[in-house]
Symmetry: C2
Subunit: 127 residues, 2 copies
DNA sequence: ATTAAATATGATAACAATTATCAGTTTATA
DNA sequence: TATAAACTGATAATTGTTATCATATTTAAT
């Protein structure tokens, strides 16, 4: 894999961003920053980086994929009301994985946990 | 929700099936069984049944959704080689949920865990 | 049984997210 | 600096899924 300027700015846009953006969102951000990047390039590089573990791809309840530059082990919560995605720190999973691997004989290389429900803010706004 | 013949045969096709089929797969099965069912009807009813808890929708690693008539709590493993989806029984999750709910204040309504890697069979075939 | 309202259907058009294509450009390497 | 490999922008194509709509089926009330 060669160096590429576009991959660099895509990663930066992802890392600078508080939320967990979609490919389209990153594309819009970069467009507004006067880059003449192509949407295909955004998809290509996000997938490439997700593939080799530089970033994480979040594919869960929704129709489109989201990305996360945080690669330390954590999970996600999607709010059904506002659609926001929150990080969920978690340390119980290693047990599950070990247990599962032993009982099934499967080689587990990755795993994802996606919770969904109503976030606190939306829950409070409800009444 | 009214009774419907089509929903009945869709559920049967799902329940009779060993694998975790996609909507398209169920459609093909029913087509070959001489039903003149429509693909839209398959999608409509799978989603409806998933919505009211009669079946489970698996949305995870792949590009398309899969369905499962097993509604007891369990998770899934997707083999990166053969693409098959396996059930993973699991009883640790309730702890995670309680913990997460307490620490975040989020109301968790559902969750999904998708493991991926290489299944035993593919692992053995590798050498 | 007959009717009327609600719900479901098949066929297909529309849609949104993503990927493939391809000619031209950039990067790494010899 | 020449060459091959990798990357890019523009956009066409693909894929999974949903919307539309005229017709048919189901349900409940007469």
């Amino acid at each position: 894999m060669n160096y590429s300027k576009q991959r660099e700015i895509i990663y930066q846009a992802l890392a600078d961003n508080v939320v967990h953006p979609s490919a389209e969102y990153i594309y819009d951000v970069l467009k507004q920053a006067n880059s003449n990047i192509s949407l295909a390039t955004v998809y290509r590089n996000l997938n490439k980086m997700a593939h080799n573990g530089k970033i994480k791809k979040i594919q869960g309840l929704e129709d489109k994929a989201h990305f996360d530059h945080n690669t330390f082990e954590h999970y996600h919560f999607i709010c059904k009301k506002c659609g926001r995605i929150f990080d969920i720190p978690c340390d119980i999973a290693p047990e599950i994985i070990k247990k599962t691997q032993e009982s099934t004989g499967f080689k587990i290389e990755s795993h994802d946990i996606v919770f969904s429900g109503i976030c606190r803010e939306c829950s409070e706004n409800e009444r």
